[in-house]
């Protein structure tokens, strides 16, 4: 499913538009950066409550094109700037990580 379709279906607030036509099939959830470094599949959507610039660094290193900040995190300016520079779609939601992942799963984003 395309990044923009996921944004629409989940009602995400989009702060940075990366490649909205990119197809995403997998996801990863977590707030421990080393855990994401170890487990994130390439091209995945990443659901996290971490809201700082290193989130963008990890996304770049893991080829993650799409970040969802859960539980009403308003992204910090540095994170926004960094995602813009790296062409990463940065979004946020009022929903918590559990619910976001459930809805992603329903949309067919599995593993």
């Amino acid at each position: 499913m395309k990044v923009k379709e996921i944004c629409e279906k989940l009602g995400l607030d989009v702060h940075v538009q990366g490649d909205l036509d990119k197809e995403v099939h997998q996801g990863v959830v977590g707030d421990l950066l080393s855990f994401i470094m170890r487990t994130a599949p390439e091209g995945a959507v990443w659901v996290t409550i971490q809201n700082h610039v290193n989130v963008a660094a990890v996304a770049v290193l893991k080829d993650i094109p799409f970040i969802v900040l859960a539980s009403e995190r308003e992204p910090l300016q540095e994170l926004i700037d960094s995602c813009r520079k790296e062409n990463i779609t940065l979004t946020s939601s009022k929903q918590d990580a559990f619910n976001l992942c459930g809805r992603l799963y329903e949309l067919g984003i599995k593993d």
Binding site: S34, E42, N54, A57, L61, K62
Partner: protein
């Protein structure tokens, strides 16, 4: 590629805004040399974790990337406090990181284990008060 390519970057202590930049630059370099994506991904993990250790624990230092025909070598050197018990530090989950760093998602105690999993060879030379020298080698023609 007969002469090895060497890239050296300084890593500042506790500079979280810049943290990850070395890893990003090294990965870009490896990609532009046309190395296999799998090698780039493994090297990125090694560099990132070594860089974060210099930022968080090492009090700043230097990172070096060396690319030769058959291997990629990543070196991280600092003159920080050193590691007292290396066997303990290598254990999954062990971390001496303070709370404010853990709250940012660092300090999971998975850094050195992540490096070990992704490198074919890992050498760490460290002693209390003497700093830490880490060298990780990834061979292009071997798997993990």
């Amino acid at each position: 590629m007969s002469e090895p390519l060497v890239l050296e970057l300084e890593v500042k202590p506790l500079d979280f805004l810049a943290a990850g930049e070395t890893a990003t630059q090294f990965k870009e370099t490896l990609k532009s040399l046309g190395l296999p994506p799998e090698i780039c991904r493994r090297a990125a993990i090694v560099v990132y974790e070594a860089e974060m250790n210099i930022v968080i624990h090492g009090g700043g230092g230097v990172m070096r990337l060396q690319v030769e025909e058959d291997k990629v070598t990543i070196m991280a050197e600092d003159e920080g406090p050193g590691i007292e018990d290396l066997e303990l530090a290598m254990q999954e989950g062990y971390s001496s990181a303070p709370d404010f760093i853990r709250e940012m998602g660092f300090g999971a105690g998975m850094g050195l284990p992540n490096i070990k999993r992704n490198a074919n060879e890992l050498y760490i030379d460290t002693a209390p008060g003497k700093g830490t020298k880490l060298r990780a080698v990834i061979y292009l023609n071997k798997g993990r």
